[in-house]
């Protein structure tokens, strides 16, 4: 990426470290949700609830870093792909917040809403990751995420 002089290396490092984690948590939650919907074994449901909550907690810092970089510190060099990535992530997080509440329901009341919300979160994040990967590829950079 083109680093503007006032862009913090620390922020980039924190972002690079934390940003990949929530996608993994939410993808795991989706697998757990599908397993619970098919088996009704409550372990999967409780596991999914924790994964979503931790995914959200870990997402807090990288999302704020991204917000600042895309719209403030690096707004002059932010590309269309960066802005798209921001919005896809935002909607994924909103879906995950609703999903955390849906997962506070008891037993099978989580199904099917929980499965759909997990699917939404994962699809939005997947698109965001693909968009960024294609962007890096087009500019001849390494895919670092």
């Amino acid at each position: 990426m083109n680093h503007a002089p006032h862009r913090s290396v620390l922020a980039d490092a924190v972002y690079g470290l934390l940003n990949p984690l929530p996608f993994g948590f939410f993808a795991a939650a989706l697998i757990f949700d599908i397993t619970y919907a098919r088996t009704a074994v409550v372990l999967w449901n409780k596991g999914a609830a924790w994964l979503i909550v931790f995914g959200l907690l870990i997402a807090v810092i990288p999302r704020f870093v991204n917000l600042a970089q895309v719209w403030i510190t690096s707004r002059h060099i932010a590309r269309r792909a960066d802005r798209l990535d921001f919005w896809l992530n935002l909607f994924a997080i909103v879906a995950a917040i609703f999903n955390a509440f849906v997962h506070s329901r008891d037993a099978y009341a989580v199904v099917p809403a929980g499965v759909w919300l997990s699917t939404c979160t994962v699809i939005l994040l997947a698109i965001a990751h693909v968009v960024m990967a294609v962007q890096h590829s087009a500019t001849g950079e390494h895919v670092h995420e």
Binding site: W87, L90, F98, A100, R105, D106
Partner: protein, 439 residues
């Protein structure tokens, strides 16, 4: 452009959260009482209806309100979470000071938050794990003599005296003690009589009643979840009334499908076993009414698969249409989320005529209802061994009028030898005594 999208997204999110929170009750408890309560459609929420008044306790001289024609006095205070009362043959009153063992593991993120909110009311305070004996010193008015009767119990709840043996239902076992009439303390160690289901203990209370001939003990064992969210395998011998043979200590399931049965009592006219049962949460402020019912041997009352007969609960998977089909409809609904936790049949007492021939019910109140319901002692009239009419509140005023502060909460009930109604108040740490205003 992007700002507009952001504003729309935020407005949408906010609206959905608000929509998920609404769920105010539209029925009064009395409207949902009797043998055919109206039942609205079940709903799932993002956040279930919730209202928890904050603990305040009773101020000096402050008391619950009583219906016209009644008088209330305090006979014991400074107790440690008094839950149950039991009248001994000589007129002494046992007060079981107890609360849950607090051993339920946190296995969902929801529990972390919900437990904090629920405990704001003071209902989660630590119990004394002991039984205190109250004795009237013969002088009118004032507090009764207080003696520590049995100590070092493990979340006790039910008490039953058969002959000279006192049975105490701890959360994990029934223990027995030798009782000598007139004694104010038992120092002999308890002997385990029989064990009770003790995993998780989501519902920890073990209610106890002895059959009229003293040959059987009935034990109320609550479910290990709201609606099997801990797995159906955790519900073995749960949500049931167990019958324990006093001679052999062997036990069997007497009736099942009773989510949280407490207040086990023998109805004096028919000799039948009755219970109060707290029904499931989180599908609406008007669902599901808690109830009072006779307990039939071998009967199945629906939990978890259905409520009030054949109303299927879709949160349970796999479903069991075979069990739903045979689910017995309870005899008498008390109202949604009143949280009945004390039952006393009283054929004759020192209260006015309208409170004779029936049952008193102590309603502890629930977190899952807005506006509040319960937090009262009500009377249900009985005709020919069957409940009739609407529950008549006789002691109220346990919370502030604006429903923000909680002074006390009624639980166990008993009748003293003078026919007065005694009420254990586990939030106010008090025992109240209700009599007719003019004898």
């Amino acid at each position: 452009m992007n700002k507009i999208v952001l504003h729309i997204a935020l407005a949408l999110a906010f609206g959905m959260i608000l929509g998920g929170c609404s769920g105010k009750a539209s029925y009064q408890p009395a409207q949902q009482s009797g043998d055919a309560p109206p039942l609205p459609t079940a709903r799932n929420f993002l956040v279930p209806p919730m209202q928890v008044p904050r603990y305040a306790g009773w101020k000096q001289g402050q008391m619950p309100k009583v219906a016209p024609g009644l008088r209330i006095e305090k006979i014991a205070s400074g107790l440690i979470h008094p839950r149950q009362l039991y009248t001994l043959p000589n007129g002494d009153i046992l007060v079981v000071e107890s609360n849950g063992p607090g051993a339920e593991p946190v296995t969902t993120p929801k529990q972390l938050i919900a437990n904090k909110i629920k405990n704001l009311s003071g209902k989660g305070a630590k119990g004394g794990n002991r039984i205190t004996l109250l004795r009237h010193d013969g002088n009118a008015g004032g507090e009764w003599e207080k003696h520590v009767f049995i100590e070092h119990l493990h979340s006790p709840f039910g008490v039953a005296l058969i002959g000279d043996t006192l049975y105490v239902a701890n959360t994990d076992a029934i223990v027995k003690f030798p009782y000598v009439a007139g004694e104010t303390q038992i120092t002999a160690p308890g002997v385990e009589f029989t064990d009770l289901p003790a995993t998780i203990n989501h519902h920890w209370t073990k209610a106890l009643a002895a059959s009229a001939d003293g040959s059987k003990l009935y034990v109320g064992v609550g479910s290990n979840s709201n609606i099997i969210e801990n797995g159906i395998d955790q519900e073995y011998r749960r949500a049931a009334v167990l019958e324990v043979d006093v001679a052999s200590a062997s036990s069997r399931i007497y009736a099942s499908g009773l989510r949280n049965p407490t207040g086990l009592q023998i109805e004096p006219h028919t000799g039948k076993l009755w219970a109060i049962v707290n029904e499931r949460d989180e599908i609406g402020a008007d669902l599901v009414p808690d109830y009072l019912t006779s307990v039939q041997q071998g009967g199945f009352y629906g939990w978890p698969y259905s409520y009030f007969g054949q109303h299927v609960d879709s949160r349970v998977m796999p479903q069991r249409p075979d069990l739903v089909a045979k689910a017995i409809k309870p005899d008498y609904a008390l109202g949604s989320h009143v949280a009945a936790l004390g039952l006393l049949f009283s054929d004759t007492n020192a209260l006015p005529e309208k409170y004779q021939h029936g049952a008193f019910v102590g309603e502890h109140g629930s977190w899952d209802r807005s506006p509040l319901s319960g937090y009262a002692v009500v009377h249900v009239a009985f005709v020919n061994g069957k409940p009739t009419g609407v529950p008549e509140p006789l002691v109220t005023g346990f919370h502030s009028d604006d429903e923000t502060q909680l002074y006390g909460a009624p639980v166990g009930l008993a009748q003293d030898k003078d026919g007065a109604l005694l009420i254990a108040d586990d939030v106010g740490d008090t025992v109240w005594r209700v009599t007719a205003a003019s004898p």
